[in-house]
């Protein structure tokens, strides 16, 4: 049977809009079931705030199954909270104790401006994908799917990288606000596959350079990997760096030929 946690103190970042200074506000939750998810606790608090005539706390969330990547939150300074490989929506109150004080902040990164309260704007991620995070394969002309056999280890490695949910925890956890894990995960997914070879070097150049317009630089802290709810390995960053270097050389050769 479920147990109940008592006397939870929440310090939550409130900010009425992008240009407001913002501040912490303290809320008490007297009692909550340990079966409740972290976001259900916020739902419960919001319903109370509405009943009291106050504005609900804004936070991003949607599938609540850890796959859409919409939810965020720095919980006690950790992106997605204390449980490893777990997005905020899958974090449950059984990971906390009665009497706990929990600080909840939005993602902290210059490239993710705050929209309101705990919600940030992550559209810089979309700009990176738009610049090259795809394989050009217009609808209609694809050959039979089994025409190109792909060794299982290659397909598995591509899948490991493709699992990224685009939540932004890697950026929020990085002291530099770098997006190398996000960007490299997509580069690795597509550059490992035979279908991705035609655009391999063009892709890595475009994506890395778009990333550099918005985000900080990677200095190998490894915080991103620790924060990633899908446990994507920083090995993908090495792969992307290697391809980026090769791309620069290849493209120079290309220039010389022209």
């Amino acid at each position: 049977m479920s147990n109940h946690l008592k006397d939870i103190t929440l310090k939550i970042w409130r900010q009425s809009g992008p240009n407001d200074g913002g501040h912490f506000e303290t809320y008490k939750v007297d009692e909550i079931s340990d079966e409740a998810s972290f976001l259900e606790m916020l739902d419960y608090l919001n319903e109370r705030l509405i009943n009291e005539g106050n504005e609900a706390i804004v936070f991003d969330h949607d599938c609540r199954e850890g796959i859409c990547g919409t939810c965020s939150l720095m919980i006690n300074g950790q992106a997605h909270g204390p449980e490893r490989a777990t997005a905020t929506c899958q974090l449950h109150m059984r990971k906390f104790q009665s009497g706990d004080s929990i600080t909840i902040e939005p993602w902290r990164a210059k490239a993710f401006p705050i929209v309101k309260d705990l919600m940030v704007d992550r559209s810089a991620f979309d700009r990176i994908i738009e610049s090259g995070g795809f394989i050009t394969a217009p609808t209609g002309g694809a050959p039979d799917a089994n025409l190109i056999p792909i060794p299982k280890p290659v397909a598995d490695a591509a899948m490991d990288s493709a699992e990224c949910i685009g939540c932004g925890a890697c950026v929020a956890a990085c002291p530099n606000g770098a997006a190398n894990l996000f960007t490299s995960a997509k580069i690795a997914h597509l550059n490992l596959l035979p279908q991705g070879q035609a655009e391999r070097y063009k892709r890595v150049e475009a994506m890395v350079e778009t990333m550099d317009e918005y985000f900080g630089s990677c200095t190998n802290h490894g915080e991103c990997e620790a924060a990633c709810p899908k446990e994507i390995s920083i090995d993908v960053i090495a792969l992307a760096n290697s391809d980026y270097r090769k791309a620069k050389i290849k493209n120079r050769k290309q220039l010389a030929r022209n």
């Binding site: 049977m1 998810s37 850890g66 899958q90 738009e130 394969a137 609808t139 997914h189």
Partner: protein, 640 residues
């Protein structure tokens, strides 16, 4: 009197219809495509694939999503897989068999021509997605792997671990992103449709609300596509994402699009049971688990021994017992009702006795833990995170939950609604799944509609409109819709009552779940139809929305969606009450066989019920489209 609806299914034998259609369809010259503008609302599988493909063809496309990014759409949460009649396993699959399985799974309530086309293009989807780099599971030799899925006797399901929906959505999203980068698609994110506008009977555009600023604006086009998903959240607790709603489809319905078969809702058999009163949503565990998991409950309702000490002879593997040839893979509606009956008999398991076991101990003994982990590892982890129990040691607990809605906007063969120029794709339409959807068919349908159907059929509508300008958004119809929308949202803020939108959502959901859920009766539906209007009146008088309408306000967004759920809920109950038969996901307790299976009435109800808005859902008008089966012989479904 009801109007007979014309499906516009092309002439010729079933297997030639789509070829014939494509051979005759009107084309738009490549250089003229840029003169046409198309609006696509929703950027899930159907919306993203349609927007990307239309832009590749050269149309100007404006795409709208209420999410921050198209990659968030709920298609992403589909776990198990996608069907295609590739017959890569050489186990006897074919286009005809996939077509037949889909018709039969839908309990003979889907349109033959649409379903056959779906089966035909299913093979192109796999080719397309592989070309885009979707990392489907593979054999050691490098070829694609398949598995079998609920309701099928062949292995035709392609999958990417337990995240097939994610990989397919990201594939479609990347193709859309490419078009956004190239300027072929303009994306409006965090923008929600609040009305559909028609001018002289044709779709002319939409009115949207910018969720960041509350600003209400109009957008016009030559054609509008709604790919806005299903309405499962009408039940409040469902496996849908929190923001899923019926608003776009409902607003189109209010402007003249018929709403078909709203009572066809699917209850998914394998979801984690509700654990407490705070629960905001239910989590689905992929049906693929039933390939290796065995479903059982203790024979004795008063069983008190721990699960591992209940001997075989005291366990009731009820699916294997009742349906020997399909066993644990019996279709979703049948498995769900069987679970409900077990729980209703008091044989439920877990602290609240509200679930059944899904047991992997045999599979672990037979295949080894490694193989089970390879197949289901991420699902097992997900279960442990939510339920706090390790399924390698203790059986999972499962219970059915609302998951998918087969009903939706009525569309013809071209996916056009009853409003010319307004299309509905993916879960938002009613077309392919009849009264029940088979597993791994939703991804197939969303992508079929977006990639391989709409790009042809929209051209057929646009071609004769060459050089006709896009309607101006200063037209009085747009202005009227804008002011109505402003009034509506200001109205929610001005009620200043005492209850939150969530409170009302929970209450309306409870009524619908109790009386229009897994099992329906005339008495229950009549009760729901007397309670819903009363609660809706209370909503209008006692709603409380805090905050304002000029900045981001999630409470206000929710109020608009709950308003539409109320109206849809009434229509659902009316549809369920008028359909005096049981079929697929619609189970009326009065109409069942001696063995407790759904009892159809093909003489009276072999038709689509398409509801017409008359100003109030309680007085909506029921129109019908007769379903004429030319190829399939109507049979009683048997999964024994």
């Amino acid at each position: 009197m009801s109007v007979e609806l014309n499906s516009k299914a092309p002439a010729g034998p079933l297997s030639d219809k789509w070829q014939n259609y494509k051979a005759d369809v009107k084309l738009v010259n490549p250089n003229n495509k840029r003169k046409f503008k198309v609006i696509v609302v929703g950027t899930g599988l159907a919306g993203a694939s349609a927007a990307a493909t239309l832009a590749e063809l050269g149309y100007q496309v404006d795409a709208f999503t209420f999410h921050d990014s198209p990659r968030r759409a709920h298609s992403i949460a589909a776990q198990g897989g996608i069907n295609a009649a590739k017959n890569y396993q050489g186990d006897g699959d074919s286009v005809h068999r996939l077509f037949y399985d889909t018709i039969k799974g839908g309990d003979f309530r889907a349109r033959e021509s649409n379903v056959h086309r779906l089966a035909e293009v299913s093979v192109n989807i796999i080719d397309q997605m592989v070309a885009q780099g979707v990392p489907f599971a593979r054999e050691y030799g490098g070829l694609l792997d398949n598995r079998s899925f609920g309701g099928a006797q062949v292995s035709r399901t392609f999958y990417a671990r337990g995240q097939t929906g994610q990989q397919l959505l990201l594939g479609a999203y990347q193709q859309l992103a490419r078009q956004i980068g190239l300027g072929g698609v303009r994306l409006f994110n965090r923008t929600e449709l609040v009305d559909v506008v028609t001018i002289e009977g044709r779709a002319a555009g939409i009115v949207v609300r910018d969720l960041m600023t509350g600003e209400i604006t109009s957008h016009s086009a030559h054609a509008v596509v709604l790919a806005t998903g299903g309405y499962g959240n009408v039940f409040f607790l469902s496996t849908n994402a929190m923001a899923c709603n019926v608003t776009a489809a409902w607003r189109a319905h209010r402007k003249g699009a018929y709403f078909a078969n709203p009572c066809y809702t699917q209850i998914h058999p394998t979801c984690i049971p509700q654990s407490d009163e705070f629960q905001s949503k239910l989590t689905l565990m992929s049906e693929s688990l039933r390939n290796d998991g065995r479903v059982w409950v203790p024979k004795n309702p008063d069983e008190t021994r721990p699960v591992d000490q209940i001997p075989e002879e005291d366990r009731d593997y009820y699916l294997e017992r009742l349906y020997p040839s399909y066993g644990n893979l019996a279709p979703r509606d049948i498995s769900s009702r069987a679970a409900k009956r077990a729980v209703d008999r008091g044989q439920g398991v877990g602290p609240l006795k509200n679930g059944v076991y899904l047991d992997f101990s045999d599979a672990i003994n037979r295949l080894g833990k490694n193989v089970v982990e390879e197949r289901y590892g991420n699902l097992f982890e997900m279960y442990e995170r939510i339920a706090g129990e390790n399924p390698y040691d203790v059986p999972m607990r499962m219970y059915p939950a609302s998951h998918y809605t087969m009903g939706g906007l009525w569309v013809d063969y071209e996916l056009m609604t009853t409003i010319p120029g307004l299309y509905a794709a993916g879960e938002a339409n009613f077309s392919d799944h009849g009264a029940n959807r088979l597993g791994a068919s939703a991804l197939m349908q969303g992508l079929a509609d977006g990639y391989f159907v709409l790009p042809y059929t929209i051209g057929n509508y646009l071609a004769p409109m060459l050089n006709k300008p896009v309607p101006g958004t200063d037209h009085p119809e747009f202005k009227a819709a804008e002011s109505a929308a402003r009034e509506r949202f200001t109205g929610y803020l001005n009620v200043k009552g005492t209850r939150s939108p969530d409170w009302f959502h929970r209450e309306v959901g409870k009524i619908i779940w109790d009386y229009c859920g897994m099992e329906r009766t005339q008495q229950g539906l009549e009760k729901a139809l007397s309670e819903l209007p009363a609660l809706y009146d209370e909503f209008k008088k006692d709603l409380r929305v805090t905050g304002d309408g000029e900045s981001l306000n999630q409470t206000l967004e929710k109020a608009g969606r709950v308003d539409d759920f109320f109206q849809l809920g009434m229509l659902m109950c009316r549809d369920a009450l008028d359909r005096n038969e049981s079929c697929g996901g619609h189970f009326r307790a009065e109409y069942q066989t001696d063995e407790g299976e759904a009892l159809r009435d093909d003489d009276k109800f072999c038709h689509v019920a398409a509801w017409e808005w008359t100003g109030d859902p309680m007085s909506a008008k029921r129109n019908v489209e007769e379903l004429n089966y030319e190829t399939v012989h109507l049979a009683t479904r048997s999964y024994k």
